[in-house]
Protein backbone atom coordinates (compact mmCIF):
# COMPACT_ATOMS: atom_id res chain seq x y z
CA UNK A 1 0.00 0.00 0.00
CA UNK A 2 0.95 3.62 -0.47
CA UNK A 3 0.43 5.99 2.45
CA UNK A 4 1.45 9.55 3.26
CA UNK A 5 3.60 9.42 6.38
CA UNK A 6 4.46 12.80 7.90
CA UNK A 7 3.67 14.59 4.65
CA UNK A 8 5.85 12.20 2.59
CA UNK A 9 4.82 9.36 0.33
CA UNK A 10 5.75 5.94 1.66
CA UNK A 11 5.31 2.54 0.02
CA UNK A 12 4.84 -0.32 2.45
CA UNK A 13 4.90 -3.97 1.44
CA UNK A 14 1.57 -4.80 3.14
CA UNK A 15 -2.11 -4.27 2.38
CA UNK A 16 -2.82 -2.88 5.80
CA UNK A 17 -1.20 -2.62 9.20
CA UNK A 18 -1.95 -1.23 12.64
CA UNK A 19 -0.35 1.93 13.98
CA UNK A 20 1.71 -0.18 16.41
CA UNK A 21 2.97 -2.32 13.51
CA UNK A 22 3.91 0.80 11.57
CA UNK A 23 5.90 2.17 14.52
CA UNK A 24 7.80 -1.12 14.73
CA UNK A 25 8.25 -1.34 10.94
CA UNK A 26 9.68 2.20 10.83
CA UNK A 27 11.74 1.67 13.98
CA UNK A 28 10.12 4.64 15.72
CA UNK A 29 11.31 4.00 19.24
CA UNK A 30 10.73 7.34 20.95
CA UNK A 31 8.92 7.03 24.24
CA UNK A 32 6.45 9.82 23.62
CA UNK A 33 4.58 10.04 20.37
CA UNK A 34 1.42 11.59 19.01
CA UNK A 35 -0.13 9.46 16.26
CA UNK A 36 -2.89 10.40 13.84
CA UNK A 37 -4.67 8.77 10.90
CA UNK A 38 -6.23 11.21 8.44
CA UNK A 39 -6.03 13.98 11.03
CA UNK A 40 -7.81 11.97 13.72
CA UNK A 41 -5.92 11.35 16.94
CA UNK A 42 -5.04 7.71 17.64
CA UNK A 43 -4.47 7.39 21.37
CA UNK A 44 -1.71 5.21 22.74
CA UNK A 45 -4.15 2.52 23.88
CA UNK A 46 -5.79 2.46 20.42
CA UNK A 47 -2.58 1.88 18.43
CA UNK A 48 -2.76 -1.92 18.50
CA UNK A 49 -6.18 -1.85 16.85
CA UNK A 50 -6.16 1.25 14.65
CA UNK A 51 -5.72 0.07 11.05
CA UNK A 52 -3.88 2.01 8.36
CA UNK A 53 -5.10 1.51 4.79
CA UNK A 54 -3.90 2.44 1.32
CA UNK A 55 -4.06 6.18 0.75
CA UNK A 56 -4.21 7.16 4.42
CA UNK A 57 -2.44 10.22 5.75
CA UNK A 58 -0.51 9.15 8.84
CA UNK A 59 1.25 11.42 11.30
CA UNK A 60 3.83 10.24 13.81
CA UNK A 61 5.14 13.12 15.87
CA UNK A 62 8.07 12.56 18.23
CA UNK A 63 7.91 14.61 21.39
CA UNK A 64 11.18 15.68 22.97
CA UNK A 65 11.74 17.89 26.01
CA UNK A 66 13.02 21.45 25.86
CA UNK A 67 11.38 24.82 26.01
Amino acid sequence: MKIILNNREEIIDRDRMTVSELLEYKNFTFKLLVTKINGRLVKKEERDKAQIHDGDHVTVLHLVSGG
Binding site: I4, N6, V34, K36, L41, L61, G67
Partner: protein, 201 residues
Protein backbone atom coordinates in the same frame (compact mmCIF):
# COMPACT_ATOMS: atom_id res chain seq x y z
CA UNK B 1 0.35 45.34 4.59
CA UNK B 2 1.97 48.31 6.35
CA UNK B 3 2.92 48.42 10.02
CA UNK B 4 -0.14 50.41 11.07
CA UNK B 5 -2.44 47.95 9.33
CA UNK B 6 -0.68 44.98 10.95
CA UNK B 7 -0.98 46.56 14.40
CA UNK B 8 -4.65 47.39 13.81
CA UNK B 9 -5.43 43.78 12.89
CA UNK B 10 -3.44 42.34 15.79
CA UNK B 11 -4.97 44.75 18.34
CA UNK B 12 -8.24 42.80 18.35
CA UNK B 13 -6.58 39.37 18.68
CA UNK B 14 -5.96 37.21 21.73
CA UNK B 15 -3.19 34.61 21.92
CA UNK B 16 -2.77 32.00 24.66
CA UNK B 17 0.71 30.90 25.71
CA UNK B 18 1.03 27.72 27.76
CA UNK B 19 4.28 27.99 29.70
CA UNK B 20 6.46 31.05 30.32
CA UNK B 21 9.95 29.59 30.07
CA UNK B 22 12.36 29.97 27.17
CA UNK B 23 9.76 29.51 24.43
CA UNK B 24 6.85 31.29 26.11
CA UNK B 25 8.62 34.38 27.42
CA UNK B 26 10.44 35.07 24.15
CA UNK B 27 7.38 34.33 22.01
CA UNK B 28 5.21 36.64 24.14
CA UNK B 29 7.61 39.57 23.83
CA UNK B 30 7.89 39.13 20.05
CA UNK B 31 4.09 39.12 19.67
CA UNK B 32 3.41 42.18 21.81
CA UNK B 33 6.13 44.15 20.01
CA UNK B 34 4.11 43.59 16.81
CA UNK B 35 0.97 45.05 18.40
CA UNK B 36 -0.94 42.01 19.69
CA UNK B 37 -3.88 43.28 21.76
CA UNK B 38 -4.32 40.51 24.32
CA UNK B 39 -2.23 37.72 25.78
CA UNK B 40 -3.24 34.92 28.11
CA UNK B 41 -0.17 33.48 29.86
CA UNK B 42 0.02 30.53 32.24
CA UNK B 43 2.87 29.06 34.29
CA UNK B 44 3.33 27.86 37.88
CA UNK B 45 7.07 28.48 38.16
CA UNK B 46 9.22 31.27 39.63
CA UNK B 47 12.18 33.00 37.97
CA UNK B 48 15.47 31.30 38.85
CA UNK B 49 19.03 32.48 38.22
CA UNK B 50 19.52 29.49 35.89
CA UNK B 51 16.66 30.69 33.64
CA UNK B 52 18.49 33.86 32.61
CA UNK B 53 20.62 32.02 30.02
CA UNK B 54 17.63 31.90 27.64
CA UNK B 55 14.42 33.21 29.18
CA UNK B 56 13.17 36.80 28.92
CA UNK B 57 13.72 37.73 32.56
CA UNK B 58 16.07 39.98 34.52
CA UNK B 59 18.24 39.72 37.65
CA UNK B 60 15.82 41.80 39.71
CA UNK B 61 12.98 39.43 38.81
CA UNK B 62 14.62 36.36 40.40
CA UNK B 63 12.14 34.83 42.86
CA UNK B 64 9.08 36.40 41.20
CA UNK B 65 6.33 34.31 39.67
CA UNK B 66 7.14 34.02 35.97
CA UNK B 67 3.65 35.16 34.95
CA UNK B 68 3.97 38.32 37.07
CA UNK B 69 7.51 39.05 35.89
CA UNK B 70 6.52 38.59 32.25
CA UNK B 71 3.43 40.76 32.67
CA UNK B 72 5.56 43.60 34.08
CA UNK B 73 8.12 43.25 31.25
CA UNK B 74 5.32 43.40 28.68
CA UNK B 75 3.88 46.50 30.38
CA UNK B 76 7.32 48.14 30.17
CA UNK B 77 7.36 47.58 26.38
CA UNK B 78 3.68 47.88 25.39
CA UNK B 79 1.55 49.25 28.24
CA UNK B 80 -1.65 48.94 26.18
CA UNK B 81 -1.38 45.18 25.75
CA UNK B 82 -3.89 43.35 27.97
CA UNK B 83 -2.28 40.43 29.80
CA UNK B 84 -4.33 37.80 31.63
CA UNK B 85 -2.18 35.72 33.97
CA UNK B 86 -2.80 32.24 35.35
CA UNK B 87 -0.47 31.01 38.08
CA UNK B 88 -1.22 27.32 37.59
CA UNK B 89 0.33 24.01 36.57
CA UNK B 90 -1.84 23.38 33.53
CA UNK B 91 -3.99 20.26 33.29
CA UNK B 92 -6.33 19.32 30.43
CA UNK B 93 -9.39 20.99 32.00
CA UNK B 94 -7.42 24.21 32.61
CA UNK B 95 -6.32 24.31 28.98
CA UNK B 96 -9.90 24.22 27.72
CA UNK B 97 -11.07 26.77 30.32
CA UNK B 98 -8.14 29.20 30.04
CA UNK B 99 -7.34 29.04 26.32
CA UNK B 100 -10.70 28.07 24.81
CA UNK B 101 -11.47 31.71 23.95
CA UNK B 102 -8.06 32.50 22.41
CA UNK B 103 -7.61 32.91 18.64
CA UNK B 104 -4.45 30.78 18.63
CA UNK B 105 -2.63 28.74 21.30
CA UNK B 106 1.16 28.50 21.67
CA UNK B 107 2.61 25.40 23.35
CA UNK B 108 5.66 26.50 25.31
CA UNK B 109 6.18 23.72 27.82
CA UNK B 110 9.49 22.23 28.83
CA UNK B 111 8.71 18.52 29.18
CA UNK B 112 7.75 16.12 26.41
CA UNK B 113 4.93 14.67 28.49
CA UNK B 114 3.34 18.12 28.90
CA UNK B 115 3.69 18.74 25.16
CA UNK B 116 1.86 15.46 24.56
CA UNK B 117 -0.84 16.49 27.05
CA UNK B 118 -1.63 19.83 25.41
CA UNK B 119 -1.49 18.46 21.84
CA UNK B 120 -3.93 15.65 22.62
CA UNK B 121 -6.17 17.93 24.71
CA UNK B 122 -6.43 20.57 21.98
CA UNK B 123 -7.02 17.91 19.30
CA UNK B 124 -9.78 16.25 21.32
CA UNK B 125 -11.48 19.19 23.01
CA UNK B 126 -10.58 22.29 20.99
CA UNK B 127 -10.35 20.66 17.57
CA UNK B 128 -10.92 23.87 15.57
CA UNK B 129 -8.15 25.72 17.43
CA UNK B 130 -4.71 26.13 15.89
CA UNK B 131 -1.86 25.08 18.17
CA UNK B 132 1.74 26.15 17.58
CA UNK B 133 4.18 23.79 19.24
CA UNK B 134 7.96 23.95 19.73
CA UNK B 135 9.70 20.60 19.45
CA UNK B 136 13.46 20.04 19.23
CA UNK B 137 15.67 22.98 20.15
CA UNK B 138 18.52 21.69 22.33
CA UNK B 139 22.17 22.59 21.78
CA UNK B 140 23.72 25.06 19.36
CA UNK B 141 24.42 25.41 15.65
CA UNK B 142 22.53 23.34 13.06
CA UNK B 143 20.53 26.35 11.88
CA UNK B 144 19.29 24.56 8.80
CA UNK B 145 17.68 21.77 10.84
CA UNK B 146 15.21 24.17 12.43
CA UNK B 147 12.01 24.10 10.41
CA UNK B 148 8.27 24.59 10.49
CA UNK B 149 5.75 21.93 9.54
CA UNK B 150 1.98 21.84 9.49
CA UNK B 151 -0.16 18.80 10.36
CA UNK B 152 -3.79 19.92 10.17
CA UNK B 153 -4.36 22.47 12.94
CA UNK B 154 -1.03 21.60 14.55
CA UNK B 155 2.05 23.63 13.59
CA UNK B 156 5.42 22.27 14.66
CA UNK B 157 8.47 24.54 14.98
CA UNK B 158 11.92 23.13 15.73
CA UNK B 159 14.15 20.30 14.56
CA UNK B 160 11.76 17.65 16.00
CA UNK B 161 14.71 15.63 17.33
CA UNK B 162 17.21 17.22 19.70
CA UNK B 163 16.15 16.74 23.29
CA UNK B 164 17.44 18.82 26.18
CA UNK B 165 19.77 16.91 28.54
CA UNK B 166 22.80 17.59 30.73
CA UNK B 167 25.10 17.24 27.71
CA UNK B 168 22.78 19.04 25.31
CA UNK B 169 21.36 22.06 27.14
CA UNK B 170 18.82 24.60 26.02
CA UNK B 171 20.69 27.78 25.00
CA UNK B 172 19.45 31.25 24.12
CA UNK B 173 20.01 31.21 20.34
CA UNK B 174 18.15 28.03 19.35
CA UNK B 175 15.44 28.51 21.98
CA UNK B 176 15.02 32.10 20.81
CA UNK B 177 14.86 31.05 17.16
CA UNK B 178 12.14 28.47 17.82
CA UNK B 179 10.19 30.91 20.07
CA UNK B 180 10.32 33.50 17.30
CA UNK B 181 9.34 30.90 14.69
CA UNK B 182 6.28 30.23 16.82
CA UNK B 183 5.50 33.96 17.04
CA UNK B 184 6.04 34.26 13.29
CA UNK B 185 3.58 31.42 12.68
CA UNK B 186 1.02 33.09 14.95
CA UNK B 187 1.31 36.30 12.92
CA UNK B 188 0.84 34.39 9.67
CA UNK B 189 -2.34 32.81 11.01
CA UNK B 190 -3.74 35.98 12.58
CA UNK B 191 -3.02 38.10 9.54
CA UNK B 192 -4.72 35.51 7.32
CA UNK B 193 -1.88 34.92 4.96
CA UNK B 194 -0.92 31.38 5.86
CA UNK B 195 -0.19 29.26 2.83
CA UNK B 196 -1.84 25.88 2.40
CA UNK B 197 1.23 24.06 1.24
CA UNK B 198 2.28 21.23 3.53
CA UNK B 199 -1.26 20.69 4.67
CA UNK B 200 -2.59 17.39 3.41
CA UNK B 201 -5.21 17.10 6.14
Amino acid sequence: MDTACIRRQLASKKVGIAGCGGLGSNCAVALIRCGLGSLVIADFDTVDRSNLNRQYYFQEQIGMKKVDALKSTIAAIEPDCRVEVHDVKLRPDDIVRIFGHCDVIVEAFDHAREKEMIITTVMEKLADKMLITGIGLAGYGRNNELRAERQGNLFICGDQGSEVSADNPALAPRVGIVANMQANQVLEILLNTESDENNPE
